[in-house]
């Protein structure tokens, strides 16, 4: 096809070359990047990837980058760790955590999508980059724009967590708080993107942005020793990540880097904002939008852009979707922290508790290889768990006082 990659309509198949555009003028459907996989076959090899840098740019051959592009931000290649203790409690061996709570530079998987989005922003000559965000994307755009010398203007729902607001402003980004929910912010950004020549990473650069999510899938396969898991559990906000992990696995199979395997995809949402899991569970073809009401603000998208495709991935792979209430989001954060030493944000609490539910329901078998995707860091949503922990009184720095405290506590435990 000449080009190594270009935009293609997901519905009517029309090709659009490479430009800042996210939907097809013919049928108004979303676009995505398609690759000349045969041309990539000789370069996208295990050997070349393993010789690459320890970050997402090791997969550059299947990212939508201009010829000769050299990425500098070392995002991605986060740990995949076996979760033995969590697995024991949940009754499943072969449980792994893909830990994007420690992604560079802003501690969420959004660092990946912003890396490819800003590469596109540069390519198309944008000086101002922008986004609508539930927080993590705001942080990632602000940080990488600072690094790239771009101006960032970021739109968020007014009620975001303080850490996500400060964690955007600190990079010098202009922040616009909107009195409304994410869906309203997103709709406004669609209107702004029509009028201003800005690079909106999740609007007119969206196809390029979304491809960054594939690297989660590539890494999972590589870190499992070039094999695919039986199951993967993915949190869903807009629904893009789950579709891109599937795309990544498909490309790895097509190019022979892993053996073909039918991986089941499971989606996780908060009950207070669950349009995708609701559609899966009720077997709806068209999603019903919701007004979000959950502490998992990073997942609070009531009209998910890729929701339709996410439901298809789940159905076609024999997976399932579940959702959990706020109380279980908190207990999920605690469970993951106490068993695996990983402090995830509220979305991670959702994913952990949904995994528990899926195992209890029998959707995930006890001896299968299951990867749980943790996408953000608990330090950004500390308010969600703060009430669970009382601040103990300060004691004098004397051994006798400490021993008195210890005896009190032992007595309290015995008394229980």
């Amino acid at each position: 096809m000449g080009l190594s990659h270009q935009l293609k309509c997901r519905e009517c198949g029309r090709l659009w070359g490479n430009e800042p555009r996210s939907f097809c003028d013919e049928c108004l459907s979303p676009l995505e990047v398609t690759y000349d996989l045969e041309a990539a076959r000789s370069v996208f090899t295990r050997k070349n990837i393993e010789a690459g840098p320890p970050n997402l740019w090791r997969y550059s051959a299947l990212l939508p980058l201009q010829e000769g592009f050299r990425g500098t931000v070392p995002a991605g290649f986060t740990p995949l760790t076996e979760a033995r203790h969590l697995g024991k409690i949940l009754g499943a061996s072969g449980l792994y955590i893909k830990n994007d709570a420690v992604c560079f530079p802003t501690l969420s998987f959004k660092d990946r999508v912003v890396a490819t989005a800003l590469a596109a922003a540069r390519r198309f000559g944008f000086q101002v980059v922008s986004c609508s965000s539930t927080g993590n994307l705001a942080n990632a755009v602000a940080a990488q724009a600072a690094r790239e010398g771009l101006d960032a203007c970021i739109f968020i729902p007014a009620d975001l967590e303080p850490a996500k607001i400060i964690g955007t402003q600190v990079f010098g980004a202009k922040l616009v708080r909107i009195a409304g929910n994410y869906d309203q912010v997103n709709r406004l950004c669609s209107q702004i993107a029509e009028k201003y020549r800005w690079g909106f990473v999740n609007v007119n650069l969206r196809p390029y942005y979304a491809e960054g999510s594939k690297t989660v899938g590539y890494e999972v396969a590589e870190q499992l020793g070039w094999r695919l898991p039986d199951n993967i559990v993915v949190p869903m906000a807009g629904g893009s990540l789950i579709t891109k992990i599937r795309k990544a696995f498909g490309e790895l199979i097509t190019l022979g880097l892993v053996e073909e395997k039918k991986v089941r995809f499971f989606g996780a949402q908060a009950t207070g904002c669950s349009p995708i899991s609701d559609a899966v569970k009720r077997k709806l073809e068209q999603l019903e939008p919701q007004k979000p009401a959950t502490i998992a603000k990073s997942l609070a998208i009531g009209n998910p852009a890729d929701g339709y495709y996410a439901t298809h991935v789940i159905r076609e792979t024999g997976g399932w979707a579940e959702d959990v209430p706020d109380t279980e989001i908190v207990s999920g954060i605690q469970l993951l922290a106490e068993t695996e030493g990983i402090f995830a944000e509220t979305a991670g609490g959702v994913t952990t508790s949904v995994t528990k539910k899926l195992i209890e329901q029998g959707h995930i078998g006890p001896n299968e290889t299951t990867v749980v995707c943790i996408t953000g860091n608990g330090l950004k949503t500390i308010d969600a768990v703060a009430q669970q922990y009382a601040l103990s009184p300060a004691i004098e720095p004397r051994l006798a006082v400490f021993e008195a405290l210890l005896n009190d506590r032992l007595a309290a435990v015995a008394g229980n």
Partner: protein, 105 residues
């Protein structure tokens, strides 16, 4: 009764460049018919082969998603502003009408 419909850039090719049109329909199905009667070329972009409104088109009334207002059952009111947004996943490509402005300080 008058309502105003804002046409997104991508569809203005089919409305002779008109950005805002005034209509008098009382429901969404009626409104689509009214727009299509005036600009027949827009029809195949608004509807799929089965005549259904395309999956990725979002309709807003005064900033609210029409699905929260009752969808096809919603009765327009005098002065309603209707917004057609293609694929909320994304906005529009760059067009001649785009302006370059700096980020607000």
């Amino acid at each position: 009764m008058k309502i105003t419909v804002e046409i997104p850039t991508a569809l203005r090719r089919f409305t002779e460049g008109v950005q805002t049109i005034e209509c008098s329909s009382t429901t969404l199905p009626e409104l689509l018919g009214e727009i299509e009667a005036r600009f027949p070329a827009i029809t195949r972009h608004l509807r799929d082969d089965t005549g259904q409104i395309r999956r990725f088109i979002n309709i807003y009334v005064n900033e609210e998603d029409i699905r929260f207002l009752g969808g096809n059952e919603y009765q327009f009111r005098e002065g309603d502003r209707v917004l057609v947004v293609p694929s909320i996943a994304g906005g529009a490509p760059l067009s001649a009408g785009s302006t370059t402005r700096p980020a607000p300080v």
